[in-house]
Amino acid sequence: MSLEMIEIRWHGRGGQGAKTAALLFAEVILATGKYIQAFPEYGPERMGAPVQSFNRISETPITIHSGITNPDYVVILDPSLIDSVPVIDGISKNGKVIVNTSFNGKEIAKVLNICANQVYVVNASQIAVETIGKNIPNTPMLGALVKIIGNLNIGCVLEDMRTKLVAKFRHKPEIIDGNIISIKRAFNEVKN
């Protein structure tokens, strides 16, 4: 709606953590001092079914409470959704798409039929397997999204994330480090 507001749409499959990603993203962005919203799309809940979730970020209080139809950023957790879901629906002319994939940006842009400079890729699944030990791409994708949005403080994000993980996984330090490293790696590895 307004210039200072950023709107994001996440695409995933039931069980992949698209909802968790949006909620977690909102929490860590609050730590950078911005207003946030996070909400999932509610429908029948089935493992593997396409699901969406949403974020708003703003410097000023967010009072709008309607759905997001023209996202500035689209994050795709599962590249197989590109064939079955209109993932770039309503995306603005300068909107950006971030895809978890092993293909390069040009190849994805061709499939999505949009300009190559709107497309960013990162192999979040591989990063997750190597750092967390499981294919849960939502955490690394947070790092990629922070990088592409650009004006967010990754230091604050990582610090807040560590605090949250420590509270949750006090007895499993390897999970904490794995998640933090996955965010850092995706932040550094996401490319056009």
Binding site: E27, L30, Y35, Q37, I62, T63, S66
Partner: protein
């Protein structure tokens, strides 16, 4: 950088359900009896976890239906306990006969209510049909635009209920607020506890030194007097609500009234609306003001008691008003909020504004800024005399054939 309004406040990212449970944890009522239902489930789920973890000393009664939930809450309150519950939609419907008993017995219960459509067809999403159906039940009804208001309203509700001796329900819009994570300022436990204070009922059934009868028969001779007193209590509760709001402002810094005026004082066209849509409409008002359109908004926070005289005074100068209802009375005439607003205007001698009734968003149907822009455009045409106001309900974003 976001700052807190209350110096000791803390900013957290929480959903509407989470902050309602948080308020309940801080209030720490003696008894909570509930039968969880979508989209209010989490409120009770989170609260029951607080009980299980020993974080609160409250007694949690897991009952077998909402009718029993309300009955158990009534019984606890009658016994002298501070008692709360939570529900939504079909759950509130099943409580229906007990709702009237809670208010008839003048018990200060507080209910966290999440607005959801009523079946059929089955639908879990937001509209206000559930609480509008309970509007004559003698309960104070407080609606919240967002999670912050839901949290603040819950804290105020306890004091209001106990001072007015009336049950209070606090609502959020199902999913839109109940499941939306936003920035909420939470106050320290001790400060909330000080604000709500200890509950000392004047009379209660477990007071063996002063036994009394509650819930007796009152036929032709005294029933009417009881109901008359209930009606008077509802009217007088406006002052209680305003007093509590004043104390809340003084303590925590946030200002609340019976309703909120948004750019209304110099407005020529205005929308009257309840709940989260007020927030979306504020975005539209701001944009229209940039284009020199004198748009304004009145958001009803307290729907029962209805602030009739106050609203009539604040809307008297508006040329064209749209009252947007998120419930349809199926009356063959108009929806509930419209009927209340128009009656208030007319009874107070305000006959100049043209007032149109819109019904929107039933069963969670999207209401976007462009829909609200259309409403203001219609109001401008009516205000200028270019178009005659409709004397029928206008429906937003619905397939009419």
């Amino acid at each position: 950088m976001i700052k807190t309004i209350y110096p000791k406040g803390k900013l957290v990212a929480k959903t509407g359900n989470e902050v309602m449970a948080e308020a309940m944890r801080q209030i720490e009522p003696d008894v909570v009896a509930a039968y969880p239902i979508t989209p209010a489930t989490e409120i009770l789920q989170i609260f029951s976890q607080f009980v299980a973890d020993g974080i609160v000393k409250s007694e949690y009664v897991a009952v077998e239906s909402e009718h029993s939930a309300m009955s158990a809450t009534i019984a606890a309150s009658a016994a002298g306990a501070r008692a709360m519950t939570g529900t939504s939609s079909q759950g509130l419907s099943l409580m229906w006969e007990m709702l009237y008993i809670a208010s008839g017995l003048r018990l200060p219960l507080v209910m966290a209510e999440v607005n959801r459509a009523i079946s059929a067809p089955i639908n879990i999403h937001c509209d206000h049909s559930d609480t509008m159906g309970a509007r004559d039940a003698g309960w104070i009804q407080i609606y919240s635009e967002d999670s912050q208001e839901a949290y603040d309203n819950m804290i105020q509700a306890i004091r209001i209920a106990e001072k007015a001796k009336l049950p209070v329900l606090v609502t959020t819009d199902g999913f839109i607020i109940s499941h939306c994570m936003e920035v909420v300022e939470i106050y320290p436990d001790a400060d909330v506890k000080t604000f709500v204070g200890e509950y000392r009922p004047e009379r209660y059934l477990l007071d063996t030194k002063r036994p009394y009868t509650l819930g007796s028969v009152a036929l032709q001779d005294y029933y009417f007097e009881h109901r008359y007193l209930l009606s008077q209590a509802m009217k007088e509760s406006k002052n209680v609500i305003l007093e509590v709001a004043k104390k809340f402002k003084k303590t925590f810094g946030r200002k609340y009234g019976l309703y909120e005026k948004y750019m209304l004082d110099d407005a020529e066209v205005a929308i009257v609306v309840i709940g989260s849509t007020a927030g979306t409409a504020k975005v539209v008002v701001k944009e229209l003001r940039k284009k020199s359109v004198k748009a304004g908004l009145l958001k009803i926070r307290i729907y029962r008691p209805f602030p009739a005289e106050e609203i009539a005074k604040d809307l008297a100068h508006i040329k064209a008003i749209a009252v947007m209802d998120r419930a349809d009375s199926c009356s063959g005439a108009f929806a509930p909020v419209y009927s209340d607003v128009v009656a208030s205007l007319y009874a107070n001698g305000v006959i100049c504004p043209k007032v149109i009734n819109y019904v929107y968003g039933l069963g969670g149907k999207e209401i976007r800024t462009e829909h609200i822009v259309n409403v203001y455009e219609m109001l401008e045409r009516v205000a200028s005399g270019a178009e005659k106001p409709s004397n029928n309900i206008k429906y937003i974003n619905v397939r009419e054939s």
